[in-house]
Subunit: 338 residues, 2 copies
């Protein structure tokens, strides 16, 4: 019996078992499937790919929504409240949190998981931090594939949360249908300090903490954003980005946000922008993945790792023209086996 | 005699002849050397690389200045005037014009060459359109290498002109020390209509056509820019981007621009930002070139060209997961000879 259990532990779960479990909406199997997808082990990777192939026909039917905002903007509290409301409406909500500044084992968003205590107790919710760091392109692939797995498991609302710093918003924009920016009213200069770029990436700005003493200020900030937004480029063709205010405590404004979201999906599906974007995102993902793999293959190549620092030094010192450096490195690389 | 001349025509100029000519500041040889660098012929390319290696110790001593602005902003007129003033001061001025919308044989900037008639008659001026279009990464490499050749030929002011549309400003920013945006006073909404991004790329904004009836409006526009600039990110550490006004007709403001430029170079050399940027630009160029060559090698590969459209269709239709598509394409590519 002991031997049998030991044996069972080592034996990988058959793909078909994953497929059945996911189809049945089993969250434990879903979590294991995501771990498989995330693994850098080659066998796991291959099994994960086979699994993806199997569940592919079941994917694509969710609302994919990105949520960004600087730390302190109230993302966790908002997702907790909003997600719980969605569950009450009968939605199945998956929350995938990407934290570029942390690794899987430690980091602020994993901490958030325990903060979203109420939501995590909901039967129709699934909360999962997305690993980051490590290998090139890993975040894209793993988060995108996790979205697909969640969709196959019947989750119809996928909330992809990211910290509003660095490159991660740009990455998330490429994998969601609608993108929300969460912000709070601040020291008056918060509009100036914010990177203009991010406002042109999002489809709605949500001013949080519109409650108590802060409510009036929050509404004022919302109005200021709406003024600025008129001057900026839209993130989505035919959709005017709007700012709204809400309180994750009182729940005021949450309904309005849900209406805005349903309108966004209705409008963009009607105009076809939704479908075009999904198609383009998939092809972009393909091309980006190829480029990343090519770069990975090159820059991780033993010979390149050995020669590149020397070449860099010579180029910096003006001893070697860039073009010759490139030629030398590439011919060394291509003449080796892969 | 005829046979000999015929023979001579076919024979390539020896590298050493190029080197000597460039060292002597011979503009005809310089022009031929640039043609060599620009050639897509493999022999020419190799000769060009050898030449670059030879002249590399003579490079790096110019002020590399980028100039951008939408068509009609008065770029040619400004460069004509400013360049002529620089020549009078004893500077040697090279103007390299990148026009992403045209090919070598035709296009608006080539037209500009004849418009810069006065400057092109100056003994210390050299005007050259930079080819674009065509192969991946060509513009970067060729313009960068042309800058090096001009420097070796003793040109101490390199003006890289580009039309302010699309990607070209971002590219030019990576190859110059200082970047100028030329603009005119407009219909009042010109500040709003302008992409915020470009203002965060440049080190000075020059409002041109500040003469006659237009002068007052131009000064007002300059002041408006200066107000906006305070809210934006600086392009260069420690340098506050400024707006100035000038007239390329009366020459008013041209001196002020020259003072601004010398201050920029003095300040950034003192702080070290100048040297750090040059070093980073070179390494970025190396890495970017490698990536471009890897992509070129992949996407131009016969097998990839044949399979990619089919793979794209299957991915779009949801028949094939992206990761599997990537794996298949890459193993097909790596298993072939290069």
């Amino acid at each position: 019996m002991v031997a049998k259990r030991f044996h069972k532990k080592k034996k990988p779960i058959p793909i078909q078992e994953y497929v059945e479990g996911i189809k049945a909406g089993d969250r434990t199997i879903l979590a294991k499937a995501i771990t498989l997808i995330e693994s850098n082990n080659l066998d796991h990777f291959r099994a994960g790919q086979q699994l993806l192939q199997e569940i592919l026909p079941l994917t694509g039917k969710s609302m994919r929504i990105g949520i960004t905002g600087v730390p302190g903007a109230g993302k966790s509290t908002f997702i907790e409240r909003f997600g719980t409301e969605l569950c009450k409406m009968g939605k199945k909500v998956a929350v995938l949190a990407i934290d570029p500044s942390s690794t899987l084992s430690q980091g602020s968003i994993l901490g958030d998981k325990t903060r979203m205590e109420k939501l995590s107790r909901e039967e129709n919710a699934f909360i999962r931090p997305s690993p980051s760091g490590g290998n090139l392109g890993g975040v894209h692939r793993k988060t995108r594939e996790t979205i697909l797995l969640c969709e196959a498991a019947g989750f119809d609302m996928i909330l992809v949360e990211t910290v509003g710093v660095g490159q991660s918003e740009v990455d998330v924009r490429t994998m969601v249908d609608m993108f929300l920016l969460l912000t709070i009213t601040g020291a008056g200069d918060d509009l100036q300090g914010m990177k203009k770029g991010i406002m042109e990436l999002v489809d709605a700005i949500i001013v949080t903490k519109a409650d108590g003493d802060n409510k009036e200020k929050a509404l004022k900030t919302r109005n200021e954003y709406n003024q600025i937004l008129r001057l900026l480029k839209q993130a989505t063709d035919g959709w005017g980005t709007k700012a709204v205010a809400c309180s994750s405590i009182t729940g005021e404004g949450i309904n309005e946000i849900w209406e805005l979201i349903t309108k966004f999906f209705a409008d963009t599906k009607k105009s076809g922008v939704f479908y075009t974007r999904r198609r383009e995102q998939t092809i972009d993902w393909l091309i980006t993945s190829i480029k990343e793999r090519l770069e990975q293959s090159f820059f991780q190549h033993e010979l390149v790792k050995e020669q590149l620092p020397i070449v860099k030094r010579n180029v910096e010192k003006g001893k070697l023209p860039v073009s010759i450096a490139v030629e030398n490195l590439l011919s060394a690389y291509f003449n080796q086996e892969h």
